[in-house]
Amino acid sequence: MLRFLLRRTLTIIPLTLVMAVMMFFLMRLLPGDPALNILGPEATPEEIETLKIEMCLDQPVYYQLANWLGGIVTGDLGKSFYHDMPVSKMLFTALIPTLKLTLLSLLFGILIGTGAGVISAIKQDSLVDRIIVVISTSFMAVPHMWLGLLLVLLFGVVLGWLPVAGYESFKDGGVVSLKYLILPILAMSTAEIGILTKMVRARMLDVLHQDYVLTAKSKGLPFWKVILKHAFKNTLITVVTLSGMMLAGLIGGAVITENIFAIPGMGRLIVTSIVRRDYLVVQSAIMLITFLYLFLNFLVDIIYAFLDPRVSYGSLKG
């Protein structure tokens, strides 16, 4: 188990490092002068010169690279040119809403998707099953932004039950602050719920046809115990694996959803910074969100190993 963890940790580090270097060169690849790109064509030569010195653009490339990598380690990522604010501080403020949104959506998606998938499989070919299959198939095809807008139209504008946009931190608003997250979570998780339902259904059907389920039945276990104890736990492993994949979709969904609902998270920060040509922020934010993604996937792997004795007891090549 320990070796498994260690090996898994060791793969993240070089990956992050290479990514950081790649981001650095991507920025250098921009056509034209980086300082000019940031300041726009109206900038005076003096302004450009000052910025160049501030950004260490007058230093040799390896120095700049070392500076950037060092910054990642120490957390000093420089200053945003648009806001005149340390990048790390901006990232930190933006990280919490995104994390909250993503994890809550994941939780919500897993609950609904797993539940629907299991019910669908148990009642295979029944009316309930058919309805669930149709709904999950359509859910998979719903674009995040469209659903977000439709939800705003229905619950925000027509019914007026929920705020159309905005965000409040838990510290300020308490439980009531969650009302800002309801629509975004629905918009983000729908597609993932569709996929999860479909996969859980398939996996559950597969598990229900396994010999050990028959063994469990032949012991005299009641139906619900066969399902919950023997079949479901095996399906749960699939859910854990899938949640890693779902994270990819959810983070993408967060970027779009935050922009629809004006939630001050990473996605909104990245998009507004791209529009403002605040490249340092873009570069750092993308790094952070990707690292977050890798880290959450790492957690998923740990949970997986914890659930499946075949991984933790080292007979599978993990």
Binding site: L15, T137, P143, W146, L150, V255, Y293
Partner: protein, 301 residues
């Protein structure tokens, strides 16, 4: 597989034998599935509309008729007009050009490059190391964020979207092809071919590729769906196709500010994306079922 299931499986094999004639023409089986036909028709229809957009569209997509702003869908403008009095239907028909065009380009490019890389990876150890490390790196980014990163540095533009989405999709295609190749390589008939000293090229093109094709084609339909979504998403965020080039995402994005009084600006383009993605998924399911003999043994109601 438990016993009753094995037994059922036996029966299904027998059934599969009796339907062998039907299975020989996969296309025929596919077209017995009404959802797959509808999906196929919708996608081809949209594709044709996109190709012949200038002739099909009732208006110039960028022609502004200020007097006709926010006209609700009706006889004059089937899908209404937007805040500048532009015909939504015409904008969407031209938008299909961008959205479908980008998707077709991305899928073809990543299918070609990804499959080649995957095959190479599955066959040559040394190349495998390098290709897999690169795909690891590219796949470390969540898909939309990866595309966002590329767009951030390239700026808006249709070619840039193609490049960005290609970089996102290609490692995934390569991975899947490699997986299929590695499985197929261990199969007896490939070993037999190798023993008979068939060349690597012959083995790849005559044996591996045709057998890997079926799961890959299914994956490509999903990829197509994903690309439509991603293009719409990027354009919606304002960092995809430039505003003067209509795309479904752009129409949706522009319409959202007028959602309160012009619902059609939000509903119509979203519906177009939704149905297109749904069609791809259903078509993919249909293709998958053709290759799956279990389909013929389903319980009868």
């Amino acid at each position: 597989m438990n016993h009753a299931a094995t037994h059922l499986e036996d029966m299904k094999t027998t059934e599969a034998k009796t339907v062998k004639k039907r299975r020989e023409s996969g296309v025929k089986v596919l077209f017995r599935n009404p959802l797959a036909i509808l999906s196929f028709l919708y996608l081809t229809g949209t594709g044709l509309m996109a190709v012949f957009a200038p002739w099909v569209a009732p208006y110039d997509p960028n022609y502004m008729d200020i007097d006709a702003r926010f006209t609700a869908p009706g006889l004059q403008h089937w899908l209404g007009t937007d805040h500048l009095g532009r015909d939504v239907l015409s904008r969407m028909i031209h938008g299909a050009r961008t959205t479908m065009g980008v998707s077709v380009a991305v899928v073809i490019l990543s299918a070609f490059v990804g499959t080649s890389l995957g095959l190479i990876s599955g066959f040559f150890r040394r190349a495998d190391e390098i290709i897999m490390r690169v795909t690891d790196l590219l796949m470390a980014f969540p898909p939309l964020v990866g595309a966002l990163a590329v767009m951030a540095f390239l700026g808006p533009g249709v070619e840039n979207i193609v490049l960005a989405l290609f970089l996102v999709m290609v490692p995934r295609v390569a991975r899947i092809t490699r997986g299929e190749t590695l499985v197929l390589r261990e199969m007896t008939f490939i070993k037999a071919a190798q023993m008979m000293k068939a060349g690597t090229g012959r083995i790849i093109f005559r044996h591996i590729l045709p057998n890997a094709m079926s799961p890959l084609v299914v994956y490509f339909t999903l990829l197509f769906a994903g690309t439509i979504m991603a293009e719409a998403g990027l354009s919606f965020l304002g960092i995809g196709s430039p505003p003067e080039v209509p795309s479904w995402g752009i129409v949706l994005s522009e319409g959202r500010y007028y959602m309160r009084n012009a619902w059609w600006l939000t509903v119509m383009p979203g519906l177009a994306i939704f149905i297109a993605v749904l069609s791809c998924n259903l078509l993919g399911d249909g293709i998958r079922d053709v290759g799956d003999p279990r389909q013929y043994g389903r319980a009868r109601k």
